[in-house]
Symmetry: C3
Subunit: 348 residues, 3 copies
Amino acid sequence: MHTLQQLADLLGVPCPAGATKELATVSSLIDATPSDLSVLTSDKYVREYKKTHAGAVLASKKVKFSVRPDVPVLTVDDAELALVKVLEVMAPPIPHPAEGIHPSAVIDPSATVGANPHIGPHVVVGAGVKIGNNVRLHPGVVIGDDSTLGDDCTLFANVVLRERITLGSRVMIHAGAILGTDGFGYRWDGSKHAKVPQIGTVVVEDDVEIGSNTCIDRAKFNETRIGKGTKIDNLVQLGHNVRVGMHAILCGQVGIAGTVTVGNGVVLGGASVVRDHVHIGDGVMAAGHSVIADDVEPKMIISGMPAIAHRQNLREQGAIRRLPELMVELRKVQELIEKYRKAGLIQE
Amino acid sequence: MHTLQQLADLLGVPCPAGATKELATVSSLIDATPSDLSVLTSDKYVREYKKTHAGAVLASKKVKFSVRPDVPVLTVDDAELALVKVLEVMAPPIPHPAEGIHPSAVIDPSATVGANPHIGPHVVVGAGVKIGNNVRLHPGVVIGDDSTLGDDCTLFANVVLRERITLGSRVMIHAGAILGTDGFGYRWDGSKHAKVPQIGTVVVEDDVEIGSNTCIDRAKFNETRIGKGTKIDNLVQLGHNVRVGMHAILCGQVGIAGTVTVGNGVVLGGASVVRDHVHIGDGVMAAGHSVIADDVEPKMIISGMPAIAHRQNLREQGAIRRLPELMVELRKVQELIEKYRKAGLIQE
Amino acid sequence: MHTLQQLADLLGVPCPAGATKELATVSSLIDATPSDLSVLTSDKYVREYKKTHAGAVLASKKVKFSVRPDVPVLTVDDAELALVKVLEVMAPPIPHPAEGIHPSAVIDPSATVGANPHIGPHVVVGAGVKIGNNVRLHPGVVIGDDSTLGDDCTLFANVVLRERITLGSRVMIHAGAILGTDGFGYRWDGSKHAKVPQIGTVVVEDDVEIGSNTCIDRAKFNETRIGKGTKIDNLVQLGHNVRVGMHAILCGQVGIAGTVTVGNGVVLGGASVVRDHVHIGDGVMAAGHSVIADDVEPKMIISGMPAIAHRQNLREQGAIRRLPELMVELRKVQELIEKYRKAGLIQE
């Protein structure tokens, strides 16, 4: 529970009447009950404010509306941003396995585990693994031999790390993600696809977050690398030897083929795919479902299939919408010329 | 084993000669052996009927063919539909963990488990979890703290539910699916992507089925919700705060970004993706691989990238097929006009 | 460690000066240290060779460059191919569970396990399962009742096989893959989507490799089948009754709907999708992200959405790039004709 006064203090704004009102959590204007704080971010939701049962509302100062006396308002510059601060204090703690090592976990005697481990039931930790301090391994996590985890890492249930994988500190990996699967490489030997050994590894730098059921393959040799602070959503596929820079954002179902480099701060919208060996420059933004088949210059905004400059893609899409009609018009021009010619109005 | 007579009775149709013939299972006309029932749904498979080794055949009455005396035929209005009834009686039972709680399962003492549980090896059930009657939890399932499962739920191997997830009754979740991962939300704080707490949950209503390795994220606040009777295929991604209505069908690899609403009875073809905040009206049908970037009116049939009315998309696709030739024709018109002008046939 | 002489002998090429030099592993020219062998496959990397710290380099004979005396060069016809041979001898062994059956594994008494098993912690093997010789089951693997595994199969962590699945010999399945989930089939019974029983199975022939978190559904009846030697990447979805031929390559995130047949030697690029009931002929190659909606003749090279002959797709894409400009030109032609008509230069 937080009082309205406490929230006003947190956000550094004046507290309206009702300072002792207690708020338990955050909810939308429509769903809120009197113990909820809600949020009003734009004029189009004023109608919902008029009917809300929220105990109080966080509103952006640009929104124009009449304050209801029964629903006090905390006015802030940017309600969306202020909401994040509120969520941070109101968020219920995420449950983790109890401190210690659950008796059903199987830890190889040659593995080392740092201070304050939270290792849950049915976890398996292989030979030579080095685990830092304050690491949480949820049930069913499997860590392959000779892997290394920095401090404060959290691996949710059933995450698998194959052998020789390296995680930095504060890495969070969501349930079901798989790191270090063999890269997908074969050569045709005349009668079959012979497997090309994938002797490299995966290195995940500090503060990376990796989504559920995402797959990151180990390198053919050297490493597949995810740069510091990069965030990866669910069901993403990263092939062998991919290198992603720092603070990139890869949305759900992105697929990146082998040996692609992705620059710092790149944002790839959901379900975008990147052809092998492509280089994506720093700061590129790709709309959802971009199909990136060629190198992309830094800071470009791209979209489409194949992905091109977003502005050009919009023009082409507009043109395609009118294409059937264009064909009719061209036919008319051709018929007109033909008619004139036949009528002798144009003589050759 | 079912006799031909039993199947005829099941389907409410007359039994042909051979009433005591015993049939063990269903197979295609090509693969069938004498103990198999097969199915003839259209004229184009009559050739296969002529050569089949099936013991008997289920045929739609619209199909024109000569009955072989050695392969008796059950004639029905719709063989495809009748087949479903036959499959229901012939299907071998799906194996589930034995009744009781396997000794290797780890059930928190504060969890409550209803009557007749089937909880398999290496399952983990967290604190405060409430499990209804007749629930089957296959090996490796992990249920996070304070989650609730209704009666008659089946969770196949290695399914993960994070904390505070709610399942209705008769929910079936296939192996490897993950519910309740944090929604993918960050804000750039000047030096890094700071994680926006995702304090909401996931609610799955009665009779929902969820495919293997599908991911359904928890809400930023409030809930991500899957409506009663909706069926979701494998490898689908649903972002935070998505709300899917009742009796929808989401085919394999569909991806839905945050805060999308999907109406009742909507069908999204395989690999379709939906941009965040889009509203899809009731009864919409989207062809496979639609890229849905804007709101869709109820009952529309859509396709394409971006998805538009299917009929319009077909016209545009047809026009694109002829586009290279169109360009040649336009060039000819331009040259003709130029020729006339140069020849003085058109004077300015 | 391998000496330069040993590697020269392996590749059947003359050994340069430095025959006793020891090389531990393979690395790129940029990342290599003196104990690494590196590789020079094309003229564009000669610059990197000039600066490399590699102990020795494997170079294709077509590459033109001056050999540095401190970095001896093994010259071969095709460095890429020779590299595979080197990787095969230098690859560190992939760790597997220890020989025997881990005490935490739960093996049904009616299951049979062949010679030399390597069954790791928390594995579950159901009733009636038959496991061949030299099989490795990594932690958390779950094998459903009455499934059969041939000799020398490797299933990485948390792989799930449902009941009655058949694997040939030397099948490798990567972590998190799920075989045998119910096919996605329903019929609308007037008030709900009634589940169509999926009584078939999945058969995986010899020497198949299946990627992480890939899903292969069981058949409605008969079988879903993956042909000998086929290789499937991560996060691929294969629907019920799909039949894939021999030696096919299905890249990451490919999605194949129900009852599709894929011929021998077919290559489907990453994220390609195939509509249900389509037949893809032998030897077809589809570029990444192809949307295959109709049958494809053998040996065609296709791309696009919908996928068409690759050459035609390139022409259309080129035309689309020029489409906005084309519209401007057509407008000019129309205006010109109108101008002439108004000026009386063309009389009707």
